[in-house]
Amino acid sequence: MKGFTAVLGREVRLALRHPGDALAAVLFFILVCALFPFGIGPEPQTLARIAPGALLAAALLAALLPLDRLFGAEAEDGSLDQLLLSGLPPALLATAKAAGHWVVTGLPLLAATPVAAAMLNLPVEAWGAAMAALGLATAILSLFGTAGAALTLGARRGGVLLPLLVLPLSIPAVIFGAAAIEAAAGGMEARPYLLLLGALLALAAPLAPLAAGAALRGD
């Protein structure tokens, strides 16, 4: 546990030294959401109709941005060897990196959700559900993304390969996340969909780090 918090603390500290990286993901998220009104037209009903799906898709794409540097930067300066020899089991190391990615990228996206939701004319009643759905969906993406980043580490054009690997895995998160927001916007209960997202997270939390750990060790 000591090693886990040490790695997580290091991720957060490094992110605070380079706030631009997290800011870039947040701006990307807001800009993608801002493109929809331009493309679809500013009619409020149409925007509100597509808002749940657009929010989910934009947030997941934004969270993907820093992923290819998750292990790439560590491998380049030799830190990855030291992390693998730190005495931490590789799966626990991957869990710490995934948690770090969520804290550094997912949380700022959550903070920007009300802005994006307002631009897409999402009813205010659904903002709470949108935050919850995005929080869970980005956590799922952080986990699958960590596995993808470990698998594509060292691959030529790994930055292109990574979304091709990770985005199909996050389709269920988009389905249940958008359904939760839609239900809340329609005055219904979002809870069942959020629970399904939670179940997905519970599935990804042990499996994705195991895959990432195996990929990092090269077996």
Binding site: D81, L84, L85, S86, R217
Partner: protein, 196 residues
């Protein structure tokens, strides 16, 4: 303590080295010498468990060393070509991360490589020799029985090589073993040579 039997390393179809055997007793030191590309760094990565063993056996006190790679990692310190420093963190922050993992006193370790006065500076402004010293400071944090050092003295001035000599002597006096790849003379009295 550490024994290799018939180790081999392949790069694609080409054998870098094969049939390599050695024993490293407690307190012992083994110098890896050989031309560029002879496989010195590859051997060290192999011994650290960072690349899978293709052929041969690696034994730690008579047992398969790599059966439990997490336990193997915990008994060694590996110093690679790269210093593994984060440029935006200060010297102290870089080192205290490893102190949190392994235990040990960050300030004493910084002092042992003569970097106490520069502890607050971000690693990116350190010179290459100072970065190397900061990487070496990891060795001084907490004891581990096996040190694997890849060109430890590259970029170091004479005073820093002497400081490394003190660290090495202390490590060996406590029963630790050292394996070092180098082209430069190292302060390792009585070291055996392993030619690749």
């Amino acid at each position: 303590m550490l024994e290799g039997r018939d180790l081999a390393c392949w790069r694609g179809e080409r054998a870098v080295f094969a049939g390599l055997s050695f024993t490293l007793p407690p307190g012992g030191a083994l110098l890896l010498v050989g031309a560029n590309g002879a496989g010195k760094s590859s051997l060290l990565r192999l011994l650290a468990g960072l690349v899978p063993l293709a052929e041969g056996e690696l034994l730690w006190q008579g047992q398969d060393a790599l059966a439990d790679r997490v336990a193997h990692a915990a008994r060694l310190r590996y110093l690679s070509h790269q210093d593994a420093l984060k440029p935006s963190l200060s010297a102290r922050e870089n080192l205290s991360f490893f102190a949190r993992l392994w235990g040990g006193d960050t300030e004493a370790a910084l002092d042992s490589v003569g970097l106490s006065d520069l502890a607050e500076l971000p690693a990116r402004v350190l010179s290459s020799g100072q970065k190397r010293r900061l990487a070496l400071a990891r060795l001084a944090l907490a004891p581990a029985p096996l040190w694997l050092l890849d060109e430890p003295t590259v970029g170091l001035d004479a005073a820093s090589v002497d400081r490394l000599g003190v660290l090495l002597a202390k490590h060996r006096a406590a029963g630790g073993a050292v394996m070092a790849a180098t082209h430069l003379p190292l302060p390792l009295p009585g070291a055996q040579e392993l030619r690749l």
